[in-house]
């Protein structure tokens, strides 16, 4: 039986992946933690993919002199290498970057550390995640796995039962990977209006079971950023400046 005390967990600090959104980083205690499952929700065009790409780069310059790598599952063909390059160049030009990781990584080096898997269908996503352990064997430094728009993959199925089935399957796989390799997962999800007591409220899709399993849900709205799993329980975090 593996017992740990909260004290040693407190001191076994793991590097965190900064989101570069100031208020959010403070609330999260410096950034995304290892071994947790995060979800970004928001309407289309509010910067989910953008933030994902930024995370891919930020994982490479975590503090404590360690360089992680990122694996990116793309279901919507939203991934834009040109934009990633722009972000990487901007990051490499930042004055304190070189200081933190010892060696200043160049933009191309950073791009080399982002792995990309294209999944057109839900089946491919499952296959990709199942194969993850192979990627992880080859690249043990992968610390961040991003599934950009899990809802898109799931919702491409017609039948509700199939959807739940697949979603739980995905969670199962992710959970196994997570416990074995101490990874950070970031999913992106959509918002939709739901009718509630004759009012419409914006909620994340994919159902309650799903939101039960994820650890933290980050809402990216037009101007504000929230944390919380339901629209009624979400907490305001900070303004978003774009």
């Amino acid at each position: 039986m593996e017992l740990k005390t909260a004290k040693c967990l407190k001191y076994a600090k793991s590097p965190k992946i900064a989101t570069d959104i100031k208020g959010l980083d403070t609330v999260l205690g410096g950034g995304l933690k290892q071994g947790k499952l995060y979800e970004l929700v928001g309407r289309s065009g509010c910067g989910k993919t953008q933030l994902c790409m930024r995370l891919c780069l930020n994982v490479q310059l975590c503090k404590y002199g360690y360089t992680g790598k990122a694996l990116y599952f793309d279901t919507r063909k939203d991934f834009n290498p040109a934009r990633l390059k722009e972000l990487a160049e901007e990051l490499a030009a930042r004055p304190n970057v070189g200081h933190m990781s010892g060696l200043a990584p160049t933009a191309t080096e950073m791009l080399r550390n982002v792995f990309y898997v294209d999944c057109h269908t839900a089946a491919q996503l499952v296959a990709g995640l199942l194969n993850c352990h192979k990627y992880l064997e080859r690249q043990p430094n992968i610390k961040l796995i991003i599934v950009d728009s899990i809802s898109f993959a799931i919702r491409s199925l017609n039948h509700v039962f199939e959807r739940t089935d697949l979603l739980m399957e995905l969670h199962n796989i992710m959970r196994t990977l997570q416990t074995k390799h101490n990874l950070t997962f970031v999913l992106t999800n959509n918002l939709a209006y739901r009718r509630k007591r004759r009012r419409f409220e914006l909620e994340a899709v994919l159902g309650k079971k799903h939101s039960m399993i994820i650890n933290t849900r980050i809402w990216l709205m037009k101007h504000d950023c929230f944390i919380g799993k339901r629209s009624r329980t979400k907490r305001f975090i900070c303004k978003l400046s774009t």
Binding site: M1, E2, L3, K4, T5, A6, K7, L9, K10, G29, G35, K36, L37, T164, D165, M168, H171, N172, R175, Q178, T179, R194, R195, K196, R197, R198, K208, K209, S211, M212, I213, N215, G228, K229, R230, R232, T233, K234, R235
Partner: protein, 340 residues
């Protein structure tokens, strides 16, 4: 020797037993029958004592009668039970009012919808438990959804105006175990039980076990076959929990998610409240009827109605109380210092 005399006097106190002689008692001693219990359970007693079966059975019956009468109620109630304080004033008042304070051996359930603050409440309880209880008592936090956050605990303790050393000391007494699946949870609890029975290690100091979200343990069971597996898991879990609670005086608080009625469909019926009143959302407990008989107290954490913009207010209601009043609620607030 004490027990020996006890048996002797018990036998001589019975009608039929009076006829036995010292010789019979000595025979019993020879066979290593020294207590009343051993006497009643001994095989072939009539052969040992060279008496008829009828006589020995008669003695047994009478001695049993005697024993049952002899247990005095005050010996059960003599030891004044220890009450743990939850550290939340409102909650303590509520628990007092319904006559069910947190005590060793209690199994409670905390239900509530997603993200309403169950995990937060468990964190708070863990923190205040180690603060209020003496040094040797520890908490075990079973982390089923990887939601445990030692930094959050650190924050909660920091809000109590403690110094670094004290915080570390408290944190040291909160044990965490990861159990992401039903099997892992069972295995962990069973091992704990085993360790306790062999009474080694520091496990004997664990007095409170917090299980964060039982639901997530087997939310992944989907098919029909697996659903049955889930049921058997639940039964097995109950047995382990009861054993730990009764034999080792460990208190349990188990978090559990409920999934309310799908409000969409409820509203589409256009039927007034009586419909939803009959089908109380809380009745849709995810774990079924059997489970709800396990816990002696079920608390539900809910969002406060009409709280307007402020969404840090929560209502804690008593859903079921096996020993006392079934009604009551209190207001709680989510703060930086946990829940107060």
């Amino acid at each position: 020797m004490e027990a020996n005399r006890d048996l002797q006097s018990a036998i001589f106190a019975t009608e039929t037993g009076k006829q036995l002689s010292e010789y019979h008692i000595k025979l019993l001693q020879k066979q290593n029958i020294r207590t009343v219990e051993e006497f009643v359970q001994a095989n072939k007693l009539h052969k040992i004592l060279a008496l008829s079966i009828d006589t020995t059975e008669e003695i047994k019956r009478e001695i049993l009668d005697l024993c049952v009468r002899r247990i005095k109620l005050n010996s059960i109630y003599k030891s004044k039970p220890i009450n743990y304080s939850t550290g939340i004033e409102e909650l303590d008042n509520l628990l007092d009012a319904i006559g069910q304070p947190l005590r060793p051996g209690r199994v409670w359930e905390l239900v509530g919808e997603n993200d309403v603050g169950k995990t937060e409440l468990l964190h708070t309880l863990a923190a205040s438990f180690v603060c209020k209880q003496e040094d040797n008592q520890q908490v075990l936090f079973v982390d089923t959804n990887l939601d445990f956050d030692s930094e959050r605990l650190d924050e909660i303790l920091r809000e109590k105006q403690l110094n670094e050393e004290a915080i570390d000391n408290y944190l040291d007494r909160i044990n965490v175990i990861k159990a992401c699946s039903a099997e892992a949870l069972l295995a962990a609890l069973k091992e704990l039980l085993q360790q306790l029975e062999s009474s080694k290690g520091s496990f004997s100091r664990i007095k409170l076990i917090l299980i964060d979200s039982l639901t997530s343990c087997y939310i992944l069971y989907r098919s029909n076959y697996e659903r049955n597996k889930g049921r058997s898991f639940l039964t097995e879990l109950t047995m382990v929990i009861r054993k730990l609670a009764v034999e080792h005086g460990i208190a349990f608080i188990i978090g559990n998610a409920t999934f309310g009625l799908d409000e969409e469909s409820a509203d589409d019926d256009e039927e007034p409240l009586c419909h939803t009143g009959a089908l109380n959302p809380e009745d849709f407990n995810y774990l079924g009827d059997y489970w709800s008989s396990v816990c002696t107290l079920i608390l539900s954490l809910e969002l406060a109605e009409d709280s307007g913009k402020e969404n840090s207010l929560r209502v804690l209601k008593v859903l079921k109380n096996s020993c006392g009043i079934e009604e009551g609620s209190c207001w709680l607030r989510l703060t930086d210092a946990g829940i107060i």
